[in-house]
C-alpha cells in the first residue's frame, strides 16, 4: 500500500489490518484489510455508518483488540508484535477518547484520581508532581482543578466529562490520540466547545489525531484528511476539502447527500440508497457496497476493488468512481 504514503514519514501506519469477532460459531468480519497512514501532526478523520468497524479499527490500533492479521506501525515500531510491559509503555504515547464521556469515567472514583491514574500507572511516584500535572491539564481543558478534583463523575454534565476525559488522555503528553466519536453523545451547543478544545489542544501539544465520527460535517471541521469506511473496508481516503467537494466513491456521495442541512430552502433529496446495510457476519462478495449501490454491476460482485488514486492524494476503492 505504498501509494498511501503521505507527505511526511507517517507516525502511524496500519497495514492490511484484519479484525474479527467470534460470535457463537459465527464470525463478525469487523475490519477486513484496512490500510491507513497518519502523518505526524495530522488529523485523519474516519467516517462511516454505525457498525462499519470504526471503533474496532481504533481499538485495534491501540492493541485493545488484537488483530487477526496485519500490522500497526507506530513511530516505526510494530505494535502488533508487542506484549506486556513494552506495550504498556507504548500506551503512554498513544491515547484514546471515547464517544460516551460519562461511561468512560469510573462512576465511583474522584476526578482527581481519574486524571492522576495514568501518572500512577506510568510510575510517577511523587504525589506533588502528580498533583501539579493534574492541575495543569485540568486547567488546560477549562476546568477549575480545585473545584473539580474532589468530585465524582456524575456531578458533571456530558461536556464537562468529555473535558475530563481529554484531560486524562493528555496528562502523559501523548503523541497520538484516537478520538472514538468524542462528540456524538454531546449536545449541539456543547459539541462546538469540545471540537474547539480538541483543536486547541492539538495545536498546543502537537498531537496527531485519528478522529472517528459518523457526522461528516463534524469530521470535516477538524480533519486534514478523511477516510470513509463501509462494512469493514476503506472506501475512500483523501484531503478533506477535496473529498467533500468531489467524492469519488458512490458511498461517499451518498453520505454527503444524506446530511440534513439546516436551511429550509434546501429541499432534502429523496433518499437514494435503497435497503439496509448488510450484516458483517456475511458480507457481500466483491465490493461490499454493491448491494446498495446504484452503479453496481457484475464486476462489483466478482472483484474486490482496490484503493486507487483518483485525484492527487485522493484514493477510492471503486470500479465505477463518480466523475
Amino acid at each position: 500500500m505504498m501509494q498511501l504514503a503521505v507527505r511526511a514519514e507517517p507516525l502511524l501506519s496500519v497495514d492490511n489490518l484484519v479484525v474479527e469477532y467470534g460470535l457463537g460459531n459465527k464470525t463478525v468480519h469487523a475490519v477486513s484489510g484496512v490500510s491507513l497512514a497518519v502523518a505526524r501532526g495530522e488529523t485523519l478523520g474516519l467516517v462511516g455508518e454505525s457498525g462499519c468497524g470504526k471503533s474496532t479499527l481504533g481499538r485495534a490500533v491501540l492493541q485493545l483488540r488484537r488483530a487477526k492479521s496485519g500490522r500497526v506501525l507506530f513511530d516505526g515500531e510494530d505494535l502488533t508484535a508487542m506484549e506486556g510491559e513494552a506495550l504498556r509503555k507504548m500506551r503512554r504515547r498513544v491515547q484514546l477518547i471515547f464517544q460516551d464521556p460519562i461511561a468512560s469515567l469510573n462512576p465511583r472514583r474522584r476526578i482527581g484520581d481519574i486524571v492522576a491514574e495514568p501518572l500512577i500507572i506510568a510510575g510517577v511516584k511523587d504525589a506533588a508532581e502528580r498533583q501539579r500535572r493534574v492541575h495543569e491539564v485540568l486547567s488546560a481543558v477549562g476546568l477549575d482543578p480545585d473545584l473539580v478534583a474532589g468530585r465524582l463523575p456524575h456531578e458533571f454534565s456530558g461536556g464537562q466529562c468529555q473535558r475530563i476525559c481529554i484531560a486524562r488522555s493528555l496528562v502523559l503528553n501523548p503523541e497520538f490520540i484516537v478520538c472514538d466519536e468524542p462528540v456524538s453523545a454531546l449536545d449541539v451547543s456543547i459539541r462546538a466547545q469540545i471540537l474547539n478544545l480538541l483543536e486547541e489542544m492539538k495545536a498546543r501539544f502537537g498531537l496527531t489525531l485519528l478522529f472517528i465520527a459518523h457526522d461528516l460535517a463534524v469530521v470535516k471541521a477538524v480533519s486534514d484528511r478523511v477516510a470513509v469506511m463501509y462494512l469493514g473496508r476503506l472506501c475512500e481516503v483523501g484531503p478533506s476539502e477535496q473529498l467533500f467537494a468531489n467524492p469519488a466513491h458512490p458511498y461517499t456521495g451518498l453520505l454527503l447527500q444524506a446530511i440534513p442541512v439546516p436551511d429550509p430552502d434546501v429541499r432534502p433529496a429523496e433518499s437514494v440508497a435503497a435497503g439496509e446495510p448488510p450484516s458483517p457476519i456475511a458480507p457481500p462478495s466483491g465490493c461490499r457496497f454493491r448491494t446498495r449501490c446504484p452503479r453496481a454491476d457484475q464486476r462489483c460482485s466478482a472483484e474486490i476493488p482496490e484503493l486507487r488514486e483518483v485525484a492527487p492524494g485522493q484514493f477510492a476503492a471503486c470500479h465505477h468512481p463518480l466523475a
Binding site: E49, S50, S157, G158, G159, Q160, D187, V188, S189, I190, R191, A192, Q193, L195, N196, E199, H214, D215, L216, A217, V218, K220, A221, V222, S223, D224, S240, E241, F244, L254, L255, L256, Q257, A258, I259, P260, V261, P262, D263, P264, D265, V266, R267, P268, A269, E270, S271, A273, G275, E276, P277
Partner: protein
C-alpha cells in the same frame, strides 16, 4: 382557520427529585392543525420528551402536570384512564428515539403490530395479520410476511424504526408524535426514515410533531418550529420565517454552533459558552441569560414572555431580539 387538532395550553410539568422540584416543562403553549407538522428543537434535557409525554399523558407517575392538553376538543389531562387508553394508539401515536429499545425484544414483530390493531380496530386475527403485512410493505420492509414471525433483534436499526412507524400508523392516527425518531440512526438511514414519515403523513393527512435536536432535520420538513430551552418554548415560528429572521439569540447561537460542510477544516466554531441551567434551580431571569452575549441586567432579573414578531405566527421570548439577522450565520 378551524379549530386546531391539538392545543397545549399553559402546560407545566414538575418532577419531584431528590435534589428538589424539577420543572421539566415550563408553561408551554402550542397548537397544531390537522395535517401539519410541528418541529420541536432543543438540546438534551430541555424538556422536549416531557412535553411530548405530557401530550400523550405518559408522564412518570410522580410527575405533576398543570395546564390543558386539548385534543379534538377533549382535555386529555382530565380524561378518565380508560378513554385515554382508547385514544392512544388509535388517534394519538408515537415513535420513539431509539428503535433498539422501543420494541419489545421478546415479542415477535407480528405480535407487536397486531396487538394494536386488534385492540383498537377489533379485527380478527387473520384480518389484523393481513393489515400488518400491508403496513410493513408500506413502510418499505421487504418480505413482510416472513418478518412477522421474527424478533426485533433480527432486524437492523433502520428496519426496526420502520416497524415502529408501522405500529404507529396502524390505526390511522390523527396525530403522530415522533420523539427524535432518527437520532440513533445513520445519516443515510435517517434520510430514508424522515422521507418515509413525510410521505405517510401526506398520504394519511396526519398532524405530526417531530422532536429533534438537529435543526437540519426540521429545516426541510416542518411547517412550524418551536425552539425549547430549559423547559420553555423560547421561539416559535413558521419554519421559513424562523430560519430567515430568527429573533432569539439562543436560536441563532444554536444554528451557528453546527459545523457546516461549506466551511474549511480547522475553522473555530462559534460555540455557545457554558451549559444549560440546572433545571432544579430555576433562574430568576431569562434562563439563557448566563450564556447569552446580549444579556444585560434586565435579562437576569425578569423572564421575558413570548412576544409576537412582525411576521404572523412568529413568537419569541427575548428582551433583546436580534433585529437584523438575515439567514444563517453570525
Amino acid at each position: 382557520m378551524s379549530n386546531p387538532l391539538l392545543t397545549v395550553e399553559d402546560v407545566a410539568v414538575d418532577l419531584p427529585t431528590p435534589r428538589g422540584n424539577l420543572r421539566a416543562v415550563d408553561h408551554v403553549d402550542l397548537s397544531l392543525d390537522a395535517g401539519r407538522t410541528l418541529g420541536i428543537v432543543g438540546e438534551s434535557g430541555c424538556g422536549k420528551t416531557m412535553l411530548s409525554r405530557a401530550v400523550l399523558q405518559l408522564l412518570p407517575k410522580k410527575a405533576k402536570l398543570t395546564g390543558r392538553v386539548m385534543f379534538e376538543g377533549q382535555d386529555l389531562v382530565r380524561l378518565p384512564p380508560e378513554s385515554l387508553r382508547r385514544l392512544r394508539g388509535r388517534e394519538l401515536a408515537v415513535v420513539f428515539q431509539d428503535p433498539m429499545t422501543s420494541l419489545n425484544p421478546v415479542l415477535t414483530i407480528g405480535t407487536q403490530l397486531m396487538e394494536t390493531i386488534q385492540e383498537h380496530l377489533e379485527l380478527d386475527a387473520p384480518t389484523a395479520r393481513k393489515r400488518s403485512i400491508e403496513l410493513l410493505a408500506a413502510v418499505g420492509i421487504p418480505a413482510p410476511e416472513q418478518r412477522l414471525a421474527q424478533y426485533p433483534h433480527q432486524c437492523s436499526g433502520g428496519m426496526r424504526q420502520r416497524i415502529a412507524i408501522a405500529i404507529a400508523l396502524s390505526c390511522e392516527p390523527k396525530l403522530l408524535i415522533a420523539d427524535e425518531p432518527t437520532t440513533a440512526l445513520d445519516v443515510t438511514i435517517q434520510a430514508q426514515i424522515l422521507d418515509l414519515l413525510a410521505r405517510e403523513q401526506r398520504r394519511r393527512h396526519m398532524a405530526m410533531i417531530i422532536i429533534t435536536h438537529d435543526l437540519g432535520v426540521v429545516a426541510g420538513r416542518a411547517d412550524e418550529v418551536a425552539v425549547m430551552y430549559a423547559g420553555r418554548v423560547v421561539e416559535r415560528a413558521p419554519t421559513r420565517a424562523l430560519f430567515k429572521r430568527m429573533h432569539m439569540p439562543y436560536t441563532e447561537a444554536l444554528l451557528a454552533a453546527i459545523p457546516k460542510l461549506e466551511t474549511a477544516p480547522h475553522t473555530p466554531l462559534p460555540a455557545i459558552s457554558g451549559r444549560p441551567p440546572d433545571p432544579t434551580r430555576p433562574l430568576k431571569g431569562c434562563s439563557f441569560a448566563p450564556r447569552c452575549r446580549y444579556a444585560d441586567s434586565r435579562c437576569h432579573e425578569a423572564k421575558p414572555g413570548l412576544t409576537s414578531a412582525e411576521m404572523p405566527g412568529h413568537l419569541y421570548a427575548c428582551f433583546h431580539p436580534i433585529q437584523m439577522a438575515e439567514g444563517i450565520g453570525a
